[in-house]
Symmetry: C2
Subunit: 425 residues, 2 copies
């Protein structure tokens, strides 16, 4: 807790890491929140391409954007201001980056830093707060949670996840109907590869496509469960024998018992190049080789995290709410915190936002607990379903023009630079 | 033209080939159409798993389905009655299959045959009509057009295509925003593989994602244009240099100048297995090897043709309309015809349904004309855009329950068999 600033200070907002269908809704929350706190927050700048814009003094003047554009960010996927895969190193390794950031903040009288990202970003926000104090430039740093991986601790869920979860659940249900309707004479096994390198939350969401035992997907492969080839093949065969087909949702991070990713199976093409595909084709080929079934596979890749057209209403509301809350916390002088989503009840679903210390969030990864996965390792339990169901609830369709979603595009007017020094990232 | 039957005859409806997001809307059109023509049509049966159900005398009693279920078929993707990849051979090669079908039709007093499929199915419907006459069992055969490939002649477009086109256009726009927002520090090239083995209509639809020159997708690869590796790589480099990134939509049927599919590039894994992936990863790897850019790729596969959640309203309406029209034609005694969609104007979009002879539809494939593709072979022209735009117009969202689309499931009550003979397909 810090004493609120006596005069308005400027604020810096940056998007970080892999973007989502709703990270711009959080941006809208921050921007509209800052607007109602003019007594504390002067100008609001965004980093062009995230923290890279901060380091290179490439700031976007948000005041130059129309209110309609900001409103439309709520229904626009991806990072409207640009995001970056750029992790500031530890203080010991590269103090220069932190010092440069403080230099830019000082030049633009930035007293508030809102960092919209996942695990790494929460760690960075914490460090910026600490180094600022050390360098005699106290700055209020608030993290805004965002990650499709749903792997942040302390918060019940992460904005971005609910929409991917909905997309994967809907797509699995639809593709399963396709496979089921043609299985007699055509494809018997369908494999859908989904994101999730270490945590299987997105794969788990595929399980929502079915409503009762035996419904597709008949197999889910989680990064949390070591891949048991024999048990897997037996389950696929059982499903094809019983249902006529088998739908498999596989997490990109599925691993062999020895820890190797299935996607890095060491396969090479004729030129010696490493295997092109992801885990989806690896699983499909395994089924073909060992059981002989005709297969199809899909890799949703960016389609899943950009699919604003089928975003979860709950997710959009939470993404906006954490943006607003971040500003509320900052102007109250709360430092090094993150707004977390606290579940009050599952049915009916009720939630609230509360601050949690960044120090307890940074670098902790929340995986799917074992009791959310069925004993056989191939499905989700009733408690997992209770947890996931409210997160995909509700539709929040974007407006359409000529048959396509009308997504916002920012002007992106640059703030006049004040420093004479350049910084190469 | 045949004299309308003096007494009601029963009817047989079958779904054929790859299913779509709207083939069940055509089924609803046939079913609701038959209901208003009770003077001509007695009972309506559906083949379980398409024509296979016809051959094996496995008929579904549509009267056992509730009106609510039939209504819900309009918003349910895939083949509710089951579809089949099963092509009846030529009359010379396998007359037994045709004779069996007529035997089943005779046993159930079936005087109308509605076959809902693509090129092959239109050919089958025509042949059934001919062989019926030869065997002294005249039957009125009407084709109901369906194919995501949009490759049937005489009809302006094919039900099923508009919804895939919308899905691909929307997904391309969304993924492009994702790539653009992170390109500075992450993925530079994104590849989306779409369906279309011989005709590039679906790939062309990806072009609708952009609105002006330079907008993503910067490259579209069509089956109609021989793959020019040097020109392709130059274009990708130009886009990355100019925009910071490049979005590529590639048709699964893209070929080398010698006619080989890119997806069959002869690559092998360490065990000598043929290349697992489709053309998407092949293109991505080529870019990586030759230009060094970080890439991501997605393969939409069944997700694209099952995506009823983002169906085109125009497509749904046309799918239903061709089903209704097929029944109208049949009861008027029109034989061996198909309802075709005739475009009256593009802006405003106006269309009507007219019958065309199956003999002129069967086995003719409509590809993307050269003047719909830009001179460089990598984009769509203004005339292509004018053609495609109305086909993706309008949204027709399914109802949702618990965050997921509530799709119909039929009871599928079997009609009592009358024949003692079995038929093995």
């Amino acid at each position: 807790m810090r004493k609120p600033a006596a005069r308005p200070r400027n604020a810096f907002y940056a998007q970080s890491g892999g973007v989502t269908a709703v990270i711009n809704a959080s941006a809208a929350g921050v921007i509209e929140g800052a607007r109602v706190h003019r007594r504390h927050i002067g100008k609001l700048y965004a980093g062009r391409d995230g923290i890279v814009g901060g380091l290179t003094e490439d700031l976007i003047d948000i005041a130059a954007e129309s209110r309609a554009t900001i409103k439309a960010l709520r229904h626009t996927p991806a990072g409207a201001f640009g995001s970056a895969r750029f992790k500031l190193k530890g203080l010991d390794q590269n103090r220069a980056e932190y010092e440069r950031l403080i230099e830019v903040f000082r030049a633009h009288d930035i007293g508030y830093f809102f960092y919209n990202g996942g695990n790494d970003s929460m760690d960075t926000a914490l460090k910026v707060s600490q180094i600022g104090a050390t360098l005699g430039y106290p700055i209020t740093c608030v993290g805004v949670p965002k990650t499709v991986d749903n792997d942040l601790p302390l918060t019940d869920c992460c904005p971005g996840f609910g929409s991917v979860a909905k997309y994967i659940a809907v797509s699995t249900r639809e593709a399963a109907l396709d496979v089921a309707s043609m299985a007699r004479t055509s494809t018997k096994v369908f494999v859908l590869e989904v994101m999730g390198r270490n945590a299987g939350w997105i794969a788990a969401a595929g399980g929502l496509a079915g409503e009762k035992a035996g419904d597709p997907p008949q197999v889910i492969l989680f990064p949390e469960i070591a891949f048991d080839e024999a048990a897997f093949l037996a389950r696929v065969k059982q499903s094809v024998d019983g249902n006529g087909y088998c739908v498999i949702v596989v997490s990109e991070g599925t691993k062999y018992p020895d820890g190797r990713f299935l996607a890095e199976a060491g396969t090479r093409d004729a030129f010696g190049h490493a295997q092109l595909g992801g885990v989806g084709p690896v699983i499909a080929q395994l089924v073909k080789d060992r059981l002989g079934y005709k297969y199809h596979w899909a890799v949703a890749d960016y389609l899943q995290r950009a699919a604003r057209h089928i975003a979860s209403k709950t997710d959009v509301e939470q993404a906006y709410a954490v943006g607003r809350a971040a500003v509320d916390y900052a102007v109250k002088g709360m430092n090094a915190v993150m707004p977390a989503i606290i579940r009050k009840s599952s049915a009916p679903y009720r939630w609230k936002i509360e601050p949690v210390p960044l120090a307890q969030v940074a670098n902790v990864e929340k995986k799917v607990p074992r009791d959310f996965i069925t004993a056989d390792g191939f499905g989700i339990t009733a408690s997992c379903r209770r947890y996931l169901a409210p997160l995909i609830a509700g539709e929040d369709y974007p407006p359409y023009r000529n048959g396509l979603p009308a997504y916002a595009k920012i002007r992106g007017k640059a703030v006049k630079r004040k420093l004479r020094t350049d910084f190469v990232v």
